[in-house]
């Protein structure tokens, strides 16, 4: 641009004969850009406040747990309990990130620019979903890694460290399950609403509206209803799957899921499948309008 003496070298229009990347690379480009959007990177300061506030809270919780574990050796929180314990924060995280990812594109009308390119509507939806899932796993998985670091310094012997590592690994996989459920619900809701504030409220609403139903089911004097109560709310539903996976049978707790673990797992998978299907259908329709 800074050519000497203001000489403009107009070399004319250049045709492009080079490489054109395929579907996978295009998906990756959209995914990477979306993952940056989740954390407000490449955007103004305002877009960074909320995601990084939540990153801060999860990090602090992780550091406190790490410190307690390293100092006293006491297990205050198991790995799998971190996403459960901080699931409200996760609702906030997806309520902020999902509208940034998809409602913003709807609002600005940029989607015709995407869908007139060799990008399938399903790939668009899945890239956005994958980015949000990755964002959640990075934050909550990061917290779990902090807890693991505390444990690694407190337990004696290599074998025990390896046991801890295995537990932490399972915990992160469990976080990923949370992430997929929360992200697919949030992206689906946000994909229907243009305005970011409305979409954020709607996402929080979807997660909160069933909380009273869980409460009501607990008041019904039937053990089966207690055991199935948690299935009606996305957060407690994944919690139920966690109980089934991680609680040993003899740890029968009040308000547990009883023998319904497989049902919880099945419903969870069903919710994911339904959300993803609807999401892809939604973008197929958007691409035609």
């Amino acid at each position: 641009m800074s050519s000497p003496a203001g000489v403009i070298h107009d070399i004319g229009y250049q045709r492009y004969e080079g490489e054109r990347l395929g579907r996978g690379d295009v998906f990756l480009a959209l995914y990477t850009q979306s993952l940056r959007t989740v954390f407000g990177l490449g955007r103004n300061f305002k877009a960074k406040i909320f995601p990084w506030l939540i990153v801060g809270v999860v990090t602090i919780v992780g550091i406190v747990m790490m410190a307690i574990r390293a100092q006293t050796g006491e297990v205050v929180m198991k790995y799998a309990e971190l996403p459960q314990f901080l699931s409200t924060l996760m609702v906030l995280f997806v309520a902020i990130a999902a509208p940034e990812l998809v409602s913003r594109d709807l609002h600005s009308g940029v989607l015709p620019l995407y869908f007139s390119r060799p990008l399938r509507p399903a790939d668009y939806a899945l890239a956005k979903l994958a980015a949000l899932v990755t964002g959640i796993v990075l934050v909550w998985g990061g917290g779990q890694i902090l807890i693991f670091l505390g444990a690694a310094f407190s337990v004696k012997g290599f074998g025990n460290v390896m046991n801890e590592l295995a537990d932490a690994g399972l915990g992160i996989i469990y976080t990923a399950l949370y992430a997929v459920v929360f992200a697919s619900i949030a992206i689906l809701v946000a994909s229907l609403l243009k305005r970011r504030a409305v979409a954020a409220a709607a996402i929080v609403g979807v997660f909160l509206v069933t909380v009273p139903i869980v409460g009501v089911l607990y008041t019904v004097p039937s053990e089966t209803s207690h055991q199935l109560a948690q299935i009606v709310n996305p957060a407690t539903m994944v919690g139920g799957v966690g109980d089934w996976l991680f609680e040993s049978a003899n740890e029968i707790e009040e308000g547990g899921i009883g023998p319904f673990g497989p049902l919880y797992a099945l419903v969870t998978l069903g919710v994911i499948a339904l959300c993803v299907t609807l999401m892809i259908g939604r973008y197929r329709k958007v691409s035609q309008s």
Binding site: R15, P112, F115
Partner: protein, 324 residues
């Protein structure tokens, strides 16, 4: 208008369009929504590379046609080909080679033009560095320089239209589909946009389809015009064929026009009569002089001698009137 010879002179595959190939071909293309609303009805057109004007009133079916060409909408019946590909079978193949500029506002306000066009270049399959380079180039070609690092939200309508054009150009398409590119622009902005489109069609060697509801606007930059109304084809023809004798000299004398007419015919000028005026096709530079000589020889009082351009609108007028 040996258009096909100009195509593709910049690319290394120059000459791939040396033979006039078919750019877009449709056959009995029909699109109905829900079996009730007919957006396109039995549309059969075939156009060669060049600048094509697609004109019709709002709601005539222009946007529906573009969506079918992009493979975004399936036609209800009929066949369609774009750049030799069938968009209903290979939509990705078509979209990789086509650039699309939508009619409506489609730019996120909080990104810079450079970021947006780079990102969209990558979605078109350009590698990262190439996307950045070509985005800068595309923005430069549409006349955006340092402004490209500012957020699009602060741009004027004219600048936004240019960004929309740049994003359609970034991946070096073989065909540009421009939906109402002059929308919302003031007269100067319209002229600038149209000459830019003309430059793309001629110097860049990229075929362009320009949609417009204003015939007068696109006729002067197009090689070919397709007019549709209510989803039906009104006419599709080369502009040169529509205006074979584009420029005509109008001669009026206060008296003795019959005398002059005879004299001009004697001079082998194909004169036609339009009331009191005589119309002479402007064949070369000497036509003027020859008429003036004739008038001077006959010593007639010359009232008027000027050039008149046949407007394509006149050629459409009868047919359009029938539908309105």
């Amino acid at each position: 208008m040996a258009r096909s010879g100009v195509r593709r002179i910049h690319g290394s595959d120059a000459g791939s369009y040396a033979e006039p190939v078919t750019l877009i071909a449709t056959e009995s293309l029909t699109k109905t929504y829900g079996g009730r609303v007919t957006a396109l009805s039995d549309l059969t057109v075939s156009v060669e590379p060049g600048i094509i004007g697609l004109v019709g009133a709002n709601g005539a079916g222009k946007s529906t046609l573009i969506k079918i060409l992009l493979g975004l909408l399936p036609p209800t019946s009929g066949r369609v080909q774009v750049l030799g590909l069938d968009p209903t079978v290979d939509p990705m193949g078509v979209r990789a080679r086509v650039g699309y500029m939508p009619e409506h506002d489609s730019l996120p306000p909080d990104l810079s033009a450079a970021e947006l066009v780079t990102h969209l270049g990558r979605i078109s399959g350009l590698p990262k560095t190439t996307a950045r380079e070509r985005a800068s180039e595309a923005l430069r070609h549409v006349g955006l320089y340092e402004e490209r690092y500012r957020q699009v939200g602060g741009y004027s309508t004219g600048m936004k239209q240019r960004v929309k054009l740049a994003q359609a150009l970034v991946h070096d398409p073989d065909l540009l589909l421009l939906d109402e590119p002059t929308n919302g622009l003031d007269p100067a902005g319209r002229d600038a946009m149209l000459s830019l489109v003309q430059r793309i069609g001629t110097e860049f060697g990229i075929s362009v389809v320009v949609c417009s509801h204003l015939l007068g606007e696109v006729e002067r930059i197009c090689d070919h015009l397709i007019a549709i109304d209510g989803g039906r084809l009104l006419r599709s023809d080369n502009v040169s064929a529509m205006t074979t004798s584009t420029d005509v000299l109008v001669v009026e004398v206060s008296e003795g026009d019959a005398e002059l007419e005879a004299r001009l015919l004697e001079m082998r000028l194909p004169v036609t009569r339009d009331n009191h005026a005589l119309l002479v096709p402007l064949e070369d530079d000497q036509t003027y002089d020859r008429i003036l000589t004739a008038v001077a020889d006959l010593d007639l009082p010359l009232h008027r001698l000027d050039q008149r351009r046949h407007r394509v609108a006149e050629l459409f007028a009868d047919r359009e009137a029938a539908h309105v």
